[in-house]
Every structure is written in structure tokens, then in C-alpha cells.
Amino acid sequence: MASIMKFTSFALKNLFSKPVTKNYPAEEREYPARARGSLQCKIEDCIFCGMCQRKCPSGAITVDRKARQWSIDRMGCVQCENCVNHCPKSCLKMDVHYSEPDYNKVVTTLEGPPVAPKPELTPEKIAELKAAAAAKKAAAAKAKE
């Protein structure tokens, strides 16, 4: 008989203890700092080198250098963090929160700020640059002596 009642102590304990589960989503879950939730990109720092696109095992990222666009298929991303580890500008980061659920496969596209136009080279500017280069050369030669 006793061997039938083995589970009774567990059952009684469970009956009088608080639930183990959380009342989600009313109660927020606290994620550990290393949790890989969703990929974030700091687009101002991105140089559109395309490294993340090449390193992504699921092909979720597309980088368009000409249009200065960086896009991600959030539902294609498997949160492996490979792109984060390889981005030369460290502009990618894993957020601990998961991305929003959706009915459709949405692609998020981020556009980089337009590049500042190159300053036009006037004859005076060229002369100035040349003088600066010559000064530098002279300084280097002096240091060598």
C-alpha cells in the first residue's frame, strides 16, 4: 500500500505552495544579461560593409551599400549572434527582449544617415593641403636626424 502513496508528499506540497509559473504577460519576465532576444543595429555607425550579411548562417540580413540600407528578416534570424561577433564597427547588439510576434514575415529596413558631401577642392584648399603635407614631411625628417 505504501508504495502507491509515494507521490502524495509532492501532491500535498504542490497543493499548498505558490504556483511555479509566472502570470505572464501581466508579470514581466526578467531576462539574464546574456539572453539573445532580438538583433538591434545602431545604423549611424554602420559602414555597410556587408560582413554581417556574409556571416549570417540563415541569410536573414541584406545590406545595400549603394542605397545605404540595412535590412533584417526578423523571423528568419535564428539569434546565433554570429553577425554581432563579426561586425567591424560593433554596431550590432543583441537585445534581451524578443521581437514582436506578427502574422506576416516583415522585413525591417534601416536607412543610414546621408553622407556629408565632400568639401569642394578650391585652388586655395589644395595649396593649404600641400603646405600641410610638406610641413609634416619636414617634421618627420627632422625627427629622424
Binding site: 508504495s3 502507491i4 509515494k6 507521490f7 508528499s9 509532492f10 501532491a11 504542490n14 511555479v20 531576462y31 539574464p32 546574456r34 539572453a35 539573445r36 556571416k55 548562417p57 535564428v78 539569434q79 546565433c80 549572434e81 554570429n82 561577433n85 543583441m94
Partner: protein, 359 residues
């Protein structure tokens, strides 16, 4: 001769966690033959190796399975490290060992839960999975993932575990061990559990050898083989005895797996005590050339990984032999002559992972 009938079983079945289909040929309630069919979740992961950089392929290799994902990733990187003839830092080896054992614990707890669910003991099922949840939380804290960890790289590991974290984990595992001790009582001595497991699905020692069983299924038939004892990761420095049982039935398989959880907790304790400091990875340069095998003891048994590289950044061939594949034949053997009501249980006792098997 009694009338024969064929009952299709699976791939969708309330107790089956994995898609396997069986055509059960019955004589009354007794099974005379079981014809298996798999192929529902083939994803072509091995073929993908020809199209992905060998460094990035580790993320694909570990997605072979959602339960032993860490060891799949590790099996692949260890094979690659052999091709490169690279010696990884000792700390990385220990970290791998700890994560391997954590995987084993969560896999076995999952299985215990499914077994309880299989014989209709729902409360016990929840009890097991509640414990498993704690292991997953620890994984998330250490690696960032709950199921797929993405911490392996060729040449070491990507994330370190600080001292406090290791101490906390050992503390958590001590708690789990205490709780599991009480639960073991239920699994191994409860009348209703015993009546479903004792004497069901007998696989004798000779049959286990003849049919090529692997892992706990084999060890429950009294064969003392465990790939961990040949030493990969840091297992060379760790003391442990291989868990076996001579009962050869479903009860023995349950017993072996429960004891392996305790053993894993002990291995983690040892590893945390002995873990050296220092680097966690080395840089590997160049492209691989050559071929290599590795063997890894997964929760379900021995898995074999094979890589062949040709000097480019794409491998020529990658192959996994999974333990479930080895265990399918013994499973079919135990099904013969069994009662229809015991079929779900018998399938469960090999701890099937069909998704690994099909890749």
C-alpha cells in the same frame, strides 16, 4: 490463426514527441510486426555544409537537434579541431564538459517527464519538467540561449562563466539533486510506475550487442560502454563510473537514466572544482584540409561526426551517425510480441530523437 489487422501509429500521436510512423501488424492485441517509416522532418543539414563557411557551419550543426544541440555543435567543432590539429585551452575543455553534462541533465529530465506522461502520470510529468526549467534558466544565464546555445567555435568557446556563476550553478544543482532524490523514490519504487515498466520491452545483453543498441538503452542491458570514458573535452580528468543495469527492461532504462542525472551533477561538481583559469579560445587560421572523426556520448548514446575538408572554406562532406538511428532496430525488436497498449512506452524508452536521425 487469429485475424491480423494493421494499425497505423504516428507520426502524430499524443505521447510521441517526435514524428515516427509505425505500421503495427496485430494479432488480437499482440504485435507480430512493426514496420517503421521516417522521413517527415528531413532538412538536408548535412548537404548545407557545401554552401556555408566551415566557421559558420557550427551554428547549423547545433541545430540538428533541439535537445542535445550543444553536443552536436561540439562534435562538429572537435572534428574540425582535429583536422586543424589544434589544441584548445584547458578552460574551454572544462566549460564544454560542464555544458555537456547540463545538456544531459535537461535531456534526461525531459525524458523522465515524457515517460511519466506516457504512462499517464501527469503530475509526475510536471514535476520533472519543473526541475528541467531550472536547468534551462541556467543555460540562458550562461550562454544566452535556452535551447540552442551558440557558444562553440572552432578553437574553443565564445563565452566564459565567471566564478560566481559556477558557484551559483553548483548550488542550484545541489538543490535539484535533493529534489530528484525524492522523485527517484516515485520512479523506482511506486507501485503504479513499476507495474508499467517492470518486465516490459526486454532486450537481453546478447540482443543488444547483435542489434547494435546505443547509450542508456545498451547500458540497461548490462553493457558497460560509455564514450565519455575514451576522453574528449575534459573527461580525461574526471572520475566517474559507467552506470549500468542488468534488468534489461524498461524499468532498467529508467533507472540508468535517473542514475546518470546524479552522475552528471557529480561530474559538474568535479569540473567546477578543477577548472583552470586562462584563455577560452585560440585563433584558427587558414582553411582545413583532411578528414576526421569524433565520437561524443550524447544523452541518447554515442554519436559519430565525420568531416572531410579539401582546403577551401567549404567542407566536402559532413556526416552524423545519431544514437536514435542505432536504437531503432532494438526498438522494433522489443515491439514484437508486445501489447498494443505498451507501444508508446516502448518507443519512449529508447528516447527517440527522430529529428536528429533525419537531419
Amino acid at each position: 490463426m487469429a485475424n491480423r489487422s494493421v494499425v497505423p501509429f504516428g507520426p502524430q500521436h499524443p505521447v510521441l514527441p517526435e514524428p515516427i510512423h509505425l505500421d503495427l501488424v496485430l494479432e488480437d492485441e499482440k504485435i507480430v510486426e512493426a514496420i517503421p517509416k521516417i522521413g517527415y522532418v528531413h532538412r538536408g543539414l548535412e548537404k548545407l555544409v557545401e554552401k556555408r563557411d566551415f566557421n559558420d557551419f557550427v551554428y547549423i550543426a547545433e541545430r540538428t537537434c533541439g535537445i542535445c544541440s550543444f553536443m552536436h555543435g561540439m562534435g562538429y567543432v572537435e572534428a574540425m579541431e582535429r583536422i586543424f590539429d589544434a589544441e584548445i585551452p584547458p578552460r574551454a575543455k572544462y566549460l564544454r564538459t560542464i555544458w555537456c553534462e547540463m545538456s544531459r541533465i535537461h535531456s534526461h529530465l525531459l525524458w523522465l517527464g515524457l515517460l511519466a506522461d506516457g504512462f499517464g502520470f501527469e503530475a509526475l510529468f510536471y514535476q520533472c519538467w519543473r526541475m528541467r526549467e531550472k536547468v534551462l534558466d541556467m543555460f540562458e544565464e550562461a550562454t544566452g540561449g535556452r535551447v540552442i546555445f551558440s557558444v562553440n567555435k572552432i578553437g574553443g568557446v565564445l563565452k566564459d562563466m565567471p566564478k560566481e556563476m559556477l558557484a551559483k550553478f553548483v548550488h542550484n544543482f545541489n538543490e535539484i539533486e535533493k529534489e530528484l532524490k525524492d522523485l527517484t523514490e516515485v520512479f523506482l519504487t511506486d507501485y503504479s510506475v513499476e507495474s508499467r515498466l517492470r518486465g516490459v520491452g526486454i532486450l537481453t545483453r546478447d540482443d543488444a550487442i547483435r542489434l547494435g543498441a546505443a547509450g542508456p538503452m545498451m547500458r540497461a542491458s548490462g553493457i558497460s560502454i560509455d564514450t565519455r570514458s575514451i576522453g574528449y573535452a575534459a573527461y580525461e580528468d574526471i572520475d566517474f563510473d559507467i552506470v549500468t543495469s542488468n534488468d534489461c527492461d524498461s524499468y532498467a532504462r529508467c533507472e540508468v537514466r535517473i542514475k546518470e542525472i546524479f552522475q552528471s551533477i557529480e561530474i559538474i561538481r568535479q569540473a567546477v572544482e578543477k577548472i583552470p583559469g586562462g584563455e577560452i579560445s585560440i585563433d584558427i587560421k587558414g582553411n582545413p584540409k583532411g578528414e576526421a572523426f569524433t565520437r561524443v556520448e550524447q544523452p541518447r548514446g554515442e554519436a559519430i561526426y565525420y568531416c572531410r575538408a579539401n582546403g577551401t572554406k567549404f567542407l566536402e562532406r559532413f556526416r552524423i551517425r545519431t544514437p536514435t538511428f542505432a536504437n531503432l532496430t532494438p526498438m522494433l525488436y522489443t515491439l514484437k510480441g508486445a501489447e498494443l497498449a505498451d507501444v508508446p512506452l516502448l518507443i519512449l524508452t529508447i528516447d527517440p530523437c527522430i529529428s536528429c536521425t533525419e537531419r
